[in-house]
């Protein structure tokens, strides 16, 4: 399954969100889009998922323009998990995960043996088998996100696109979700592309990082190759140290910021402003 953007421009007029952007999603790998708020990384993911139609250029899936392919057919090759999805009130996990089979079903064929097997598998890998009859809105944040991932898995696609799958989760659950996605990539060979905010987690889990900035791709490549202090300065407009992650050896970003230096700075400022007074 090949997915690529061919010189896409998203948005109109003099100030588009993305401009003449080319990007190929590496097959069978984990790709993470990073960039500061409003840089267009979510827009890029949404365009790949056909939620947004580019004003110029096209998204090509297996050599075919995605805009000209039946949406149900696309949904068998490419699944999307948007940011913060909300299930209808009272819907159970099983009912949610069943929706993932939508592109394979019709009104006469709503529960084939294949549907059942794939849903069972999706519930198993997300560790939700025992909770399948629980309403989605009664779950904890981490469980709920796993339920949504199970729905996307039930689509049985080669490509998974996820928009900030770890938002609203505490660190332990963020790790849990990313470990799950990484395992799906390594054991089931699914291509994963997602937007993440946390640079350190992005570096740990990504094979390929795409840094989006200024309407185009600022840099892309393995985290070790591209995540540098210069990149942090250019893409996030922030000074940072890049050190080596003590556990995995991947790049780790320590932002400078001001933090506890606040008081020191104040003292310095005070002595600077007081000095002329003391002279008097």
């Amino acid at each position: 399954m090949d997915l690529e953007a061919q010189s896409i421009t998203v948005g109109y007029g003099d100030d588009p969100i993305l401009e003449a952007l080319n990007l190929q999603i590496p097959k069978g790998k984990v790709t993470v889009f990073i960039g500061k708020n409003g840089c267009g990384k979510s827009t890029l993911l949404s365009t790949f998922a056909r939620l947004i139609k580019p004003s110029l250029g096209s998204i090509v899936l297996n050599g075919r323009d995605i805009a000209k392919t039946a949406t149900k057919k696309v949904a068998r090759d490419l699944a999307l998990l948007p940011q913060g999805p909300v299930a209808p009130e009272g819907l159970t996990i099983l009912q949610l995960v069943r929706q993932g089979r939508y592109p394979y079903q019709n009104w006469l064929n709503q529960w084939s043996v294949e549907d059942e097997n794939i849903i069972r598998h999706a519930l198993k890998v997300t560790n939700l088998e025992d909770l399948s009859d629980r309403p989605v809105d009664s779950l904890s944040g981490g469980q709920r996100q796993r339920a949504w991932i199970a729905m996307v898995l039930a689509q049985n696609t080669d490509i998974l696109l996820l928009d900030e799958p770890t938002t609203y989760l505490d660190l332990a659950h963020q790790m849990d979700i990313l470990d799950l996605l990484f395992a799906l990539n390594r054991t089931e060979k699914r291509t994963i592309a997602m937007v993440l905010h946390d640079i350190n987690l992005a570096c740990r889990y990504a094979d390929h990082i795409v840094a989006v900035g200024d309407k185009k791709i600022y840099a892309q490549g393995a985290p070790e190759d591209i995540v540098t202090a210069q990149l942090m300065k250019d893409v996030f407009q922030m000074n940072a140290e890049i050190i080596v992650d003590p556990i995995f050896g991947t790049p780790m970003c320590i932002p400078h910021g001001r933090g506890r230096n606040l008081l020191k700075q104040r003292q310095q400022e005070n002595t600077q402003t007081e000095r002329p007074q003391s002279v008097q």
Binding site: T71, A75, L80
Partner: protein, 352 residues
């Protein structure tokens, strides 16, 4: 997945997953439905026992009973049931589409459009002196129907560009308000008796039902409720919101159009024959969801049964409890419905 809650049905390429709880609820409601029909047929100025009612249905009772059951009560009861079913399913579809449990057929302008054309019709038919009234009253449903579909269509067309659920709702509210203003204007400038006649229609009444209207509404409801049942998977998909719906391969725009047409047609048909009966389209889907959860495969049929029951019971109370006065069914759907609805919202803590 073969467990207590579900049962898989498969033949060749066809396969379904049956929710046991929903099936049970459906069967119980269907039995209740039949019981209420039989009770309603027996109650009224002339009391007929249930056994005689069943006989009379097959024209095996006394000639008086046969007459009362067949000519007076049966068409009216069936019409109220069909109207309730149509409104309930229309409401269920809209609530899924707009992703808001407070949506009802009123918001897409169907009711107010029908009210407007009905009052227009009554105004113009009565202005040609007394003789024309009795000729034209049978065309009243046609007038209401045209108004309902026209208004539903207008709301839909105007919100078509960059179509979103919220746009549909706002457009519906706006146009409804306009139509209501016109209706009020006509009532005020028209003759006095027009106002009382119209107000009965606007509240919703199945008085004066005929077999021909029953047959028409029956065919209409079977077709559109049937279509709604076939499209429940798409409605389920839409209820997840645009992004998820597109992600799983739902043809968002096309299915929205289809579902709105269905909802307008069902509400329009119901309103045309039974008047603007309020609250059923809001209440029935709610009760259905509380009974069987939020999967539309179960919600649609269960809503239909509940909606039919509500209007049948309301009409039964309206024509029996306050004899010789006859109260329109719509008074009771609102009088019982509104407090129940507030209780529901309060109990489920949805008003935070």
């Amino acid at each position: 997945m073969e467990n207590r809650k579900y049962h898989a049905l498969r033949w060749n390429k066809a396969s379904f997953l049956v929710d046991r709880k929903a099936l049970l609820a459906g069967i119980i409601l269907a039995i209740l439905f039949i019981i209420v029909i039989i009770l309603s047929l027996g109650l009224g100025d002339v009391f007929i026992s249930p056994v005689e009612v069943v006989k009379a249905i097959f024209k095996q009772s006394t000639s008086l009973n046969n007459l009362v059951v067949h000519s007076f009560r049966f068409p009216r009861i069936l019409l109220s049931a069909l109207a309730g079913m149509g409104l309930a399913v229309a409401g269920a579809i809209l609530q899924g589409l707009v992703r808001n449990p407070l949506a009802s057929p009123d918001i897409i302008g169907v009711t107010s459009g029908a009210s407007l054309t009905t009052v227009m019709f009554l105004t113009f038919s009565s202005s040609h002196e007394a003789s024309s009234m009795n000729v034209s009253i049978q065309w009243l449903p046609v007038a209401s129907f045209i108004g309902a579909l026209f208004m539903g269509g207008l709301v839909f067309l105007l919100s078509r560009h960059g179509f979103s659920a919220i746009k549909l709702v706002l457009m519906g509210i706006g146009l409804s308000a306009g139509a209501k203003a016109l209706t009020d204007l006509m009532l005020i400038i028209g003759p006095i008796y027009l106002a009382s006649q119209s107000s009965i229609w606007i509240t919703g009444s199945v008085n004066g039902a005929s077999w021909s209207s029953v047959v028409f509404l029956f065919i209409w409801s079977v077709v559109f409720i049937g279509l709604a049942q076939i499209l429940t998977r798409r409605l389920n998909a839409q209820a997840f919101g645009e992004k998820v719906a597109v992600g799983i391969g739902n043809n968002l725009k096309r299915d929205r159009i289809l579902l709105i047409i269905l909802s307008t047609a069902l509400a329009g048909g119901a309103v045309a024959y039974a008047g603007a009966i309020g609250f059923v389209g809001l209440m029935a889907p709610h009760m259905a969801r509380r009974l069987v959860g939020s999967s539309f495969g179960s919600v649609i049929p269960v809503s239909a049964l509940i909606g039919g029951l509500i209007v049948m019971i309301s009409d039964l109370i309206g024509r029996t409890v306050f004899t010789p006065l006859e109260i329109p069914a719509g008074v009771f759907t609102a009088a019982i419905g509104a407090p129940y609805f507030i209780y529901l919202l309060y109990k489920t803590g949805k008003w935070r």
